[in-house]
Symmetry: C2
Subunit: 456 residues, 2 copies
C-alpha cells in the first residue's frame, strides 16, 4: 500500500478534520469536576461514533469513574495500541480566557494558524491526529497497514483512578506489540521528538486545622494559632536556600545525568532565555547549578499548585480562619519511590506542626518516573518517519511532565510505549487560552500516516 | 421622669422588639461585596423608617459608598450621639452555616435563648438595643431624657472609606456632649464593661506575580518561580521564633502595661483556658511571655486573614500559577503609627522578593489605637447604671478589636466616646452561625434605658 496518496488525502481533508476536532472540543469534558460528569460521557460517546465511522468496532466501557473507549480494527501488519485521553483540565480562572474555552475557533496569529480551545492540545487535538491518519489510510486503501487497538481514557487529568484496575482486568484485550502514546510535544517547531524519559508524579493535598471554627482576628488574633501562618511556614521550609527539596530521603534514587545524554542534550542548543522569556521570566528559579533543561527533564521538583484559606473574596474580612489547605505535587525521576516520599513528606509535615494544630492529607496519585529502551527497531523506524515529515531530524528527549500510562504499559502489559506528540511549549495547556497549532495538527496527522507505514 | 415604668415597658415589649430586629436581620447588607449594594440601601431605609416611627427626624444621607443614616430628636438633658453600623460581614464559607444567615431565628441553646443570623451581634442587635431603649422612654414619657443624635454607618465592615469625609463635612451637626458607641462586648455574662482601650487596624492585601501566565508545573516546575512559594516564604518570616513581628520599627510606640492596669486586669481572673478551649485550642500562640489578655488588649498583632493562589477547586490541577495573594492585617496599640508601619511592611516585602517576581499592594484602612480618659463624670455614672442592671459591677476593659470611629469622635469632633456593648466572646461574629443572646438584647435595652436616665 502506497503512502503518498494517503498524505495527499490528508492534505485535501484538513478542513473537514478540523471541523471534527472542533465538535469534540465543544464537549466540556473536565474530569476532575463532578459537575461535568455527563460531558465526559458525551465525549466518550462521540469518540465511539467517530471510530465506528471509519470501520472500527468501538465501545464505551464503564468504570467507577469516567468511561474508557476501546476500539479494535484489523490490519495487515503488527498489532499497535494507540492511547490518548478525551478529558481536559478545568478552565479557571475563566476571566483570563479571551473567549469561551469550549467554543473552539481557528485564529490567525503572528506564529501561524491555531485552534483555540480547552483541550485543543491536551489531548483532544493530539488524539485526533492519530484517528485522522487512520481515517485517511482507510479511505484510500480500504484497510489499515497495522492491526490497531484504540484506548481512550477520560480521567488522565484527574489522577486516572480507574486506569490500573481497568488495564489489569482487560490485559489480554489491550496487550499489543507496541503502545503509541500521543500526549507529548515537539522539541521545537522544526524538530519532532520521541520522548524516552518521563518524570513521575506524586500529589498531596494538605489541610491544616487550628481553631475549631473561624474566629474574629480582633478578638483572637495573636493568642490563637492561625493555620495560614502554619501552612506558609511548612511550604517555606520545603526547599532550602539552594532550591533543594528538604523532605528526608527525597533524593534517594535520583541519578546524575550520563555523560552521553548530557552531550546529546547540550547538542540541542536549548534556548533557556527564550523558554523563560516566553512566560515573562529571566532567571531559572530551581536548584542552584543545574541548567533549565536538566531541571525540566531529569531533576525532581516540588511545587505548590494551589493554596487557600480564610477570606479570599473582594474587600477585607478580619477573620482568623479555622483551616488552610494547599495542593502540593512532586515530579519524580530515576528510581525515586513515590510511596516512600509520601510517607516521609507526611511525617515531616506532622513533625513541623505547632501545638493545637492538626493536619490531614489526601493523596492524589503516585507514579514512578519512566525511561524507555530505544534499542528496538520500532524506535529507529519511527524516528526516521518523523524526520521525513519535519524540517530537521527527530530527537530522543526527556519530558518534565508525567504520563503514568507509559509506565503502566510496560509493567502491566509488557508492551513498550512509544511517545510521539506534536504539542508546543507555548500551547498553554492547563492555562487560559490553550491552543494547538494547525501545523501541529496537520503535520501530526501526516506524521502518524508515515509512522504506520514505517511500522507496517 | 421615672425609670421603672420604662424598664417594665421594655420587658413587656421584648417579643415585638425581637420581631423588629429580625426584620433588619433579613436584609443582607454585606458592605464589602458590591453585589449587596442595594441591600445596604434597603437597610438604611429600614432604619430611617424605624427612627421616624418613634418621632426621630431621620434621613438617609448619600456618600460615595453606602449611605449614612442620621436622626435627631430633642430631649430634656445633655446632647448624646449614638453610633452603630447596619452593615455586616460576608457569610462565606456558607456551607458551615446551619441555616440561611439572613433568615433569623430565635433558638434554644444549653446556654439560653439566642437570635441566630449574620449581624445579630455585629452590629444590628447591638444597634437596636439603643433604639429600643429610646422607643420605651418615648412611649412611656412622650419624650426622651436627653437630646439625641443617631448616627448609623453602612461601611464599618469594609474599612469605612466615607466616614472621615462625612464627619468632616457634617461636624457641626454631629458634635455633641458624649458619643455612645455600641459595638463592643461584656467582660463575661455577669460583668458588663466599658471599653477604654481599643487596638488600631492596618490592612494590606499583597499580590505576588511570577510568570506572566499560569503554567503547567510539569513543563515549567522547578525552573520557573512559583509565587505561592514566594508568598509563603514572606508570610513565614513576618514573625520570629518568639512570636514577635519582624517588620522593622513595628514596636515603636508600643507601651508596656502600667502596673495599675496590670493589677486591675489580673483582678478580673480571666479564664485563659476557657477562652481558648471554647474554640478548640489550649496553648496561647502569640508572643512568648505574654498572657492571653495582654495579647488581646494591649499587644499588637499581625495575622493573615486570607490566602489564595493557583487551583483551589476539587481534585488536582498541576498548575504553576502566575499569581498568589494574601490579606494581612495588623492590630495596633499605643502610639504605633499605621502609615509608618505600612511603609516599613511594604519595603520589607519588596526587599524579600526573589528575581522575576513583582508585588502589588492594596491598602485597606489604617487606624491608630485609642485609649479614653475615664475621669469625666459620665464614665462613673454609666458604670453605676450598668452595675445596677447586671449581677456584678461593671469593669473598664481593653478590646482586641478595632473601632476606628471612637478615635474619630475624639479627633474630628472633640467628643469623648463611651463604648458600651453586650456581645459575648462566643457570638461568632465574622464567622458562620453568628448569634446574639436574647439576654444580651433584653438586658442591653434595659442597660441603655438606665444609662440615659443616669446621664440626664
Amino acid at each position: 500500500m502506497s503512502l503518498d496518496p494517503v498524505l495527499s488525502r490528508i492534505d485535501a481533508d484538513l478542513e473537514a478534520a478540523m471541523d471534527r476536532l472542533k465538535e469534540l472540543l465543544r464537549i466540556p469534558s473536565i474530569s476532575t469536576d463532578p459537575a461535568y460528569k455527563d460531558a465526559c460521557e458525551t465525549a466518550a460517546d462521540w469518540l465511539v461514533a467517530d471510530l465506528a465511522s471509519i470501520g472500527v468496532e468501538a465501545s464505551k466501557r464503564a468504570t467507577p469513574g469516567h468511561p474508557m473507549v476501546i476500539g479494535h480494527v484489523d490490519g495487515t501488519g503488527p498489532h499497535l495500541l494507540f492511547y490518548g485521553h478525551y478529558d481536559v483540565q478545568p478552565v479557571d480562572p475563566l476571566e483570563l480566557w479571551d473567549r469561551d474555552p469550549f467554543d473552539p475557533e481557528v485564529q490567525e496569529t503572528p506564529k501561524g494558524k491555531v485552534i483555540r480551545a480547552r483541550g485543543a492540545s491536551d489531548d483532544k487535538g493530539q488524539l485526533m491526529t492519530f484517528v485522522e491518519a487512520c481515517r485517511a489510510w482507510k479511505a484510500e486503501h480500504g484497510t489499515l497497514p497495522c492491526k490497531i487497538t484504540f484506548f481512550f481514557e477520560g480521567e488522565e487529568e484527574s489522577g486516572s483512578p480507574s486506569l490500573v484496575p481497568f488495564m489489569r482486568e482487560n490485559a489480554d484485550e489491550l496487550r499489543s506489540d507496541l503502545a503509541l502514546i500521543c500526549d507529548t510535544g515537539l522539541f521545537d517547531s522544526r524538530v519532532p521528538a520521541i520522548t524516552t524519559m518521563l518524570r513521575g508524579l506524586l500529589g498531596e493535598e494538605i489541610t491544616i486545622t487550628g481553631p475549631s471554627k473561624d474566629l474574629h482576628s480582633g478578638m483572637y488574633g495573636g493568642a490563637a494559632m492561625n493555620p495560614i501562618r502554619v501552612l506558609s511556614r511548612i511550604i517555606a521550609q520545603l526547599h532550602d536556600e539552594q532550591g533543594r527539596i528538604t523532605v528526608p530521603g527525597f533524593y534517594d534514587g535520583v541519578p546524575e545525568l550520563s555523560s552521553d545524554l548530557r552531550a546529546q542534550w547540550d547538542g540541542l542548543n536549548f534556548d533557556h532565555s527564550a523558554f523563560l522569556g516566553d512566560v515573562g521570566l529571566s532567571d531559572p528559579a530551581g536548584e542552584a547549578g543545574r541548567t533549565a533543561l536538566e531541571m525540566l527533564w531529569s531533576r525532581p521538583t516540588c511545587e505548590v499548585n494551589g493554596i487557600n484559606g480564610g477570606y479570599t473574596g473582594d474587600g477585607f474580612k478580619t477573620v482568623l480562619p479555622s483551616k488552610a489547605s494547599a495542593k502540593i505535587s512532586f515530579r519524580l525521576v530515576g528510581q525515586q519511590d513515590p510511596h516512600a516520599i509520601r510517607d516521609s513528606f507526611r511525617k515531616m509535615v506532622t513533625d513541623m506542626l505547632p501545638p493545637d494544630c492538626e493536619v490531614s492529607f489526601t493523596g492524589q496519585g503516585a507514579s514512578r518516573a519512566g525511561a524507555f529502551d530505544t534499542s528496538g527497531p520500532a524506535f529507529e523506524a519511527a524516528r526516521k518517519a518523523l524526520s521525513d515529515e519535519w524540517p530537521d531530524p527527530a530527537a530522543y528527549i526527556g519530558c518534565g511532565g508525567s504520563i503514568p500510562i507509559a509506565g503502566h504499559f510496560q509493567e502491566l502489559l509488557g508492551t513498550t510505549p512509544l511517545l510521539i506528540g506534536f504539542g508546543k511549549d507555548d500551547d498553554q495547556i492547563h492555562s487560559p487560552n490553550e491552543k494547538y497549532d494547525v501545523e501541529s495538527f496537520h503535520k501530526g496527522i501526516r506524521s502518524w500516516a508515515r509512522v504506520l507505514d514505517a511500522l507496517s
